[in-house]
């Protein structure tokens, strides 16, 4: 990969990776660090990574970094609960925000698989490569995530019809 191709990767994928991490971690500061680290690793291995595999490589590095952060952050679950409690009292009248609330309650794997699928348009195989799981496992995770979100919205009696 050339320097020009690296810069193209920054232009094309940095926002997507950032959104993916923010959506999963809900911590913009931590997401910024992960994106920085991800591209630093790409730069170090610029000679070994080809442009056509760069996207999957970047998301895989970012995903692994994110998992490390989740593991290190012992207070993550407490933080999630706190945010969830706080948001319960918030009056949502927007479908997107309802869905967002539902996504935040998903298990980490389902959330990651769903965000990679919907935000970045990855297919099952590339999601499997990033998350180190089979295509069928990816499909199951996404199915369960959608089913949960559907039930969540239905439970809140959202008028979408």
């Amino acid at each position: 990969m050339t320097t020009h191709e690296y810069n193209t990767c920054v232009k094309q994928y940095s926002d997507g990776i950032f959104r993916f991490i923010v959506k999963n971690l809900r911590d913009e500061f931590e997401a910024e660090n992960i994106v920085q680290n991800t591209f630093e690793k790409l730069w170090v291995r610029i000679d070994q990574v080809e442009m056509k595999t760069a996207k999957a490589y970047l998301f895989k590095i970012a995903y692994n970094n994110m998992i490390d952060v989740i593991r290190k952050n012992k207070n993550h679950s407490d933080l999630t609960s706190a945010v969830h409690v706080a948001s319960d009292n918030y009056e949502y009248n927007n479908l997107i925000e309802y869905v967002s609330m539902a996504v935040n309650e998903l298990p980490a794997k389902q959330k990651s698989a769903l965000t990679l699928r919907d935000y970045e348009g990855h297919d099952y195989k590339s999601i499997g490569d990033i998350m180190c799981m089979s295509e069928s496992q990816v499909k199951i995770n996404i199915f369960r995530a959608r089913k949960y979100i559907k039930a969540y919205i239905n439970k809140l009696e959202l008028m979408i019809l």
Binding site: S14, D15, R19, K23, Q36, I153, L161
Partner: protein
């Protein structure tokens, strides 16, 4: 593919994910649109698709960019001129010449047995001054030599006249432990007699003129073999002269058509089966 309460979620999921064929999609959509419950469930499923917020961008993007190497794009006209000049220079420098065989650069000090006249020939690179760069290992791997021979590579200096010859050779030959061999260089050999009185150990070999080899001091362990390479500028000058002498049909075309902005310069040389043509037409593509 019939939807029922047990399988409708899975089928709707496949429909949403684009996992169904076109025919299957039509079949499923017909059923969904004909049933209120399924239609509402389908709406809910469609709502599970996350919409990326394009407003969320990575704020530190600028810091990630790396400076790219700048590529200087030369215009075709100047590229053509540069290429022509390079070709012309390359042709002149590399034009074959018989004399090249006689200016082989050999400058070494080698350890030989006292009764051996074997000449060690090691081609060396050009150096700026004598004895400024000594590399035993590099030279020891090349040439024809015995395993126990010690080879020390000396520098090579351009020799153009007797004064320089003195300055060049004397530092070597004045060493008590060094013999000097100059071979196949008539000009240098001719100049050597004037130095002989001051050179205690001199070994002259000139196979071209069948000159008698003179072994003045075989007891010395080291022998210097020196011939001289003309530096690039002198070599280039010689090349040009040689080419002009050998060239059977030299042509020089200068077109001074400045009115139409079409001046050009062309050189053609032909000799011993070689032909070189170099032309410059700088304003060819100018409208």
């Amino acid at each position: 593919m019939i939807l029922d309460k047990d399988n409708y979620e899975l089928i709707m999921f496949d429909l949403l994910e684009g996992n169904l064929s076109e025919a299957e999609e039509l079949l499923v959509m017909d059923q969904i649109e004909g049933d209120d419950f399924l239609f509402r469930e389908w709406k809910l499923f469609k709502a599970t698709v996350l919409v990326p917020t394009s407003s969320m961008v990575f704020p530190g993007k600028a810091s990630l960019y790396k400076e790219e190497k700048k590529v200087v794009v030369m215009s075709k006209r100047w590229a053509a001129i540069a290429a022509s000049v390079c070709i012309l220079a390359a042709v002149l420098i590399s034009w074959p010449r018989e004399e090249d065989k006689m200016v082989q650069v050999i400058t070494t000090v080698t350890e030989l047995k006292s009764d051996s006249n074997q000449v060690v020939q090691v081609e060396t690179q050009k150096y700026s001054a004598f004895e400024t760069e000594i590399n035993e290992n590099r030279v020891a791997n090349r040439g024809i030599q015995k395993p126990d021979q010690k080879v020390i590579e000396l520098g090579v200096k351009q020799v153009v006249n007797t004064i320089e010859l003195e300055q060049t050779i004397l530092p070597i030959v004045n060493r008590k432990d060094v013999e000097l061999l100059v071979q196949n260089k008539p000009d240098i050999i001719q100049a050597l007699p004037s130095l002989n009185t001051t050179v205690p150990q001199l070994f002259v070999k000139n196979s071209a003129t069948n000159a008698k080899e003179t072994d003045l001091a075989l007891k010395a362990k080291d022998r210097a073999i020196a011939s001289f390479k003309v530096e690039e500028v002198v070599r280039l000058k010689d090349k040009i002269q040689a080419i002009l002498v050998m060239a059977s049909n030299p042509k020089l075309n200068i077109n001074t058509d400045f009115k139409n902005n079409r001046p050009s310069f062309q050189v053609e040389l032909e000799t011993k089966g070689y032909q070189a043509i170099a032309s410059i037409e700088p304003f060819k593509n100018r409208n």
